[in-house]
């Protein structure tokens, strides 16, 4: 599962779990993270570049105002685009930051605490994003 893009894992460097393979639960979690990052990444390659092009090249950023949003969110296609992008981007980002936290936080208590903050913050932003979209749909 480690690829060229993945250098020495600090866990190995510090010799904490050198020889033994991780338990199957941890391995399953890592496979799930791996697939989440790759699949959402593939979706986001299209959605985010499309979103950036739309709001900076096709429309100048100064013209991407509230009226522009109102026009766009009047269409189910754009709502689906933004909803998918919101969910995929947060899942992708949180999974990526999760991996970085595991790499850089050696103390297990501190690690659990930092991961809890990550999950809570991501859930809060996901809720805020969907509330924004829901209000636009209901209006």
């Amino acid at each position: 599962m480690t690829s060229l893009g993945d250098p020495v894992r600090p866990r190995h460097r510090e010799g904490v779990r050198h020889a033994a393979a991780p338990p199957s639960g941890a391995r399953r979690a890592r496979v799930a993270t791996y697939l989440t990052v790759r699949l959402t990444g593939l979706i986001l390659a299209v959605l985010v570049l499309g979103h950036f092009a739309l709001t900076h090249f096709i429309t100048d950023v100064a013209d991407a105002d509230a009226a522009f949003i109102a026009r766009r969110w009047g269409s189910a296609l754009w709502l689906a685009w933004d909803g998918t992008m919101l969910t995929a981007a947060l899942a992708h980002g949180a999974a990526g930051v999760w991996i970085a936290i595991e790499d850089y936080t050696a103390d297990p208590v501190r690690r659990r605490r930092v991961l809890a903050v990550l999950v809570a913050g991501t859930a809060l932003l996901l809720a805020l994003g969907w509330i924004t979209l829901a209000v636009a749909i209901l209006d």
Binding site: L4, G5, P10, H56, I69, A70
Partner: protein, 167 residues
């Protein structure tokens, strides 16, 4: 400047600070795993080696991928909050959004474009390396392509983004 604009700029500054701090963590981690407290000198020495010995370019790509990922995630968090101003009222959103059209923010958006391009293309490269089970030589060739497209497309995009405030 309105209160909401000030709040946005403060949050953006906080995001910058967090990403800078993360960059220090990544570089210190890199110094640890690359051996020695002077990664810059080690890098200068390595640049003199033959290309075949520079397998570590993949590692530099990894660190850059991590850093751009955190920067984009930081902006994503801020962006979800700033778009939610639309829920308060469209005029609140417009007030906040005025910032996006200013020259410094356009400069920031251009650098964001570079980060997104590198992260996207390098991510697709990693996917290709994994799925195609590519070795180090093709992986490194792909990396050269990733950097080239990032620089060219980023420069073209920057020209488009900056044009309204330059002319």
């Amino acid at each position: 400047m309105s209160a909401i604009q000030l709040a946005f700029l403060l949050a953006l500054t906080g995001t910058f600070a967090a990403v800078t701090w993360f960059a220090v963590v990544v570089v210190r981690g890199a110094a640890r795993s690359d051996g020695g407290a002077h990664p810059s000198w080690a890098l200068v020495r390595r640049l003199g080696r033959s290309p075949d010995e520079r397998a570590e370019l993949n590692r530099w790509a990894f660190y850059l991928h991590r850093l751009t990922g955190m920067a984009i995630f930081g902006f994503l968090c801020l962006h979800i909050v700033d778009v939610s101003a639309y829920t308060v009222s469209p005029s609140t959103y417009d007030d906040l959004h005025e910032l996006y059209g200013t020259a410094p923010m356009r400069l920031f958006e251009s650098s964001l474009l570079f980060a997104i391009l590198f992260h996207t293309l390098n991510g697709l490269r990693i996917l290709a390396v994994d799925v195609g089970d590519l070795g180090q030589v093709p992986a490194q060739r792909l990396l050269v392509g990733v950097v080239a497209v990032t620089v060219l497309a980023g420069a073209a995009g920057t020209a488009l983004i900056m044009a309204p405030v330059l002319t």
